[in-house]
Symmetry: C2
Subunit: 399 residues, 2 copies
């Protein structure tokens, strides 16, 4: 019985597809340092945990399709602190950022339409594009200039009759790039001139270093009809398992359509929304502490990578990932080898091969993405094992 072509062709997650090798390593008694996935080790705030612990309703019922009224009303305050002025009607709560991106693709594009996305990009955009039948047109960016946006002419050259939107991840996963207000304004100008939506994935908004400030798509002028913001609490409150995100736009027609898609799936998780609601008033001091911690880790991983001969990488400005170009040919093979063949005193390191983050064939096969989501001590240990592993891999001649 043949399954669908799209079921056969959909990209296997380069982040998740190594799981069987990891499971096998664990079964052999190997401890794995997980630099492969953006699962922070930061404690979920007690404000959220206390909601679960204090749950006392008789029935765990459906909420409204657009999200709990209380939560949407309070989200307005969160966004006001980000200098984003919206109303509750501009917000639909989604089942994590993933569903937000899917809804954005569904309401902006018909099947066969195109979205321009700077690569390397968050690999799961590929899956969302398969679900929605959208074609991703990659706009290659480079480590050499910190994965910043290329000149207007490069962007415009990728616009076709089927282009409906430009999608930016800002701060960037996996690049760590933070786009300047000037760069966002020139992309907005391109969107206006070519009648495109500008969709931004801003789930790493809080994670910005070196005193940089974040520019949201919702800050841009004359973009009321075109700006679509996708957000999530997964990283903000280290609550990846809560599956709460949102879709934001001032375009009423777009939100009315998105609501119909939302109604089809009834509602996002109820108790997770209640927990997210309790986190709204967490102040800047909470983030300051966490950003200080991530900044330390960023410096550690960057310094450790700099010590390894033949590695090319730039210091990320945001999020908690770094892309490193290695002196090998096939980082996917190297990742599997690290799990299957290599260990130091029964410990090894897991990371994400970067080819899956590119849409252009052949690109990224010598690159990896590392998530600096571990404490300094563990990170130093992991990087020491990584360095030894890379040296052994190169020495074994498997490159």
């Amino acid at each position: 019985m043949k399954i669908s072509e799209r079921g056969t062709k959909i990209q296997a997650s380069p982040i998740r597809k190594l799981k069987p090798f990891a499971d096998d390593a664990v079964a052999r008694g190997i401890k794995i340092y997980h630099l492969n996935i953006g699962q922070p080790d930061i404690a979920t705030p007690p404000e959220m945990i206390n909601v679960y612990r204090g749950f006392h309703k008789k029935v765990l019922a459906y909420g409204p399709a657009q999200g709990l009224d209380d939560y949407r009303t309070n989200l307005v305050n969160y966004y006001r602190r980000q200098k984003i002025e919206i109303s509750a009607d501009d917000i639909i709560v989604t089942t994590a950022g993933s569903e937000g991106i899917i809804f954005a693709m569904l309401v902006c594009c018909n099947p066969g339409d195109e979205i321009i996305i700077p690569e390397p990009f968050y690999t799961n955009y590929n899956g969302f594009a398969t679900i929605s039948g959208v074609r991703i047109v990659p706009l290659t960016t480079h480590a050499e200039n910190g994965f910043q946006l290329p000149p207007d002419s490069d962007i415009i050259a990728r616009i076709s009759a089927r282009t409906r939107a430009i999608l930016l991840c800002n701060p960037g996963n996996p690049t760590g790039a933070v786009y300047s207000c000037t760069d966002l304004e020139r992309v907005a100008e391109i969107a206006r001139k070519n009648d495109l939506f500008l969709i931004t994935d801003e789930v790493y908004r809080e994670f910005i270093y070196d005193g940089l400030t974040h520019t949201s798509v919702m800050h841009l002028a004359h973009m009321e009809e075109r700006a679509v913001l996708v957000d999530s609490i997964s990283k903000r409150y280290s609550a990846c398992g809560a599956r709460i995100g949102c879709l934001i736009s001032r375009n009423r027609e777009l939100m009315a359509a998105a609501l119909k898609f939302a109604q089809a799936r009834l509602c996002p998780p109820t108790i997770d929304q209640m927990a997210a609601n309790a986190a709204i008033d967490i102040g800047q001091e909470y983030f300051d502490k966490i950003i200080k911690e991530y900044d330390k880790r960023r410096n550690v991983i960057y310094q450790e990578l700099q010590k390894i001969p033949g590695i090319i990488c730039v210091k990320p400005q945001g999020a908690f990932y770094i892309i490193a170009k290695l002196p090998i040919r096939d980082s996917d093979h190297f990742a599997r080898w690290m799990l299957s063949e290599f260990h130091v005193h029964n410990e090894t390191v897991m990371f994400a091969p970067a080819a899956g983050f590119y849409a252009t064939p052949g690109m990224g096969s010598d690159e990896i993405r590392l998530a600096y989501v571990l404490k300094e001590e563990s990170l130093l240990k992991a990087m020491s094992i990584f360095r030894k592993g890379l040296a052994a891999y190169i020495q074994s001649g498997q490159i």
Copy 2:
């Protein structure tokens, strides 16, 4: 800025689209009896509530894309009690049954492919079909014979070169029909002969009356490659807000493809899975009590409907819905009128107009779906108001 055609065309949920009228009624101080949505008033089991209340992890982390290992392993036991023999590898935990149906459509069909579904059907299948680009081919069933499946020739007549699957909801929402083993076996035979998948939505499995037994698609012989089961805990444990379902198939290729779609959205809600896991061992006595309660409500609503002149309906065999044909022309208008214009001592009734449950244009416009999810006393009150409302509506000449 024009949104997508599919965003414009996707069906507004006939269940949810009345919400603004309901909100307005509430604002005017009207109490609404909700017979419009399958939100049970039954308490969520303490086994589940205690998981939330006892949550003590430091980080609310991502789980595996296919669901928590513990939960999948334990689900095998639940299904064994239903005489369904599967392994944990045959299960992918989904974000409610909704996502299970979407995954099933994505892996069985390419865009433009067709699925045959008996109508009236669960209205949100329309939204899932829009998301996945699948065309629903309706197979009309009738109140007169309890919405049972039509003869083979009627089913076969709807098969085209693009047909990839038959989708059955058993027990049926909104029909309350329970398909016999014999009927399922003849559909299975049609599926085998015409190389089709047989997808069943069995989320109301536990809710069966009159001593009937449930036949699952997983019980059918020679269907290993074709049978796809979608399930949910929403109704089973009165936990609609938990958003936990699953997709089950013994077709390994299909499950491998579904896993890739699952990986794209990372994971279903973590804590809700932990709660669902705690409910696995809830025994038959729990369901016996609830089914007895629903059976009582079923008898009440059926008897009350029988008292109203000109109403046609059959006693449902399963689930907790009843379709009633009214002596009016436009049940959508009547539903809005009940919320906007009518009340008895500041109380009114909300129900779902049935046209949205049909794909054949014009069908169901004189029918409604009532969910008997309220206690006997409230149900009697609601039906009394409904009867008065219908009489007043007819008398007003608006039909």
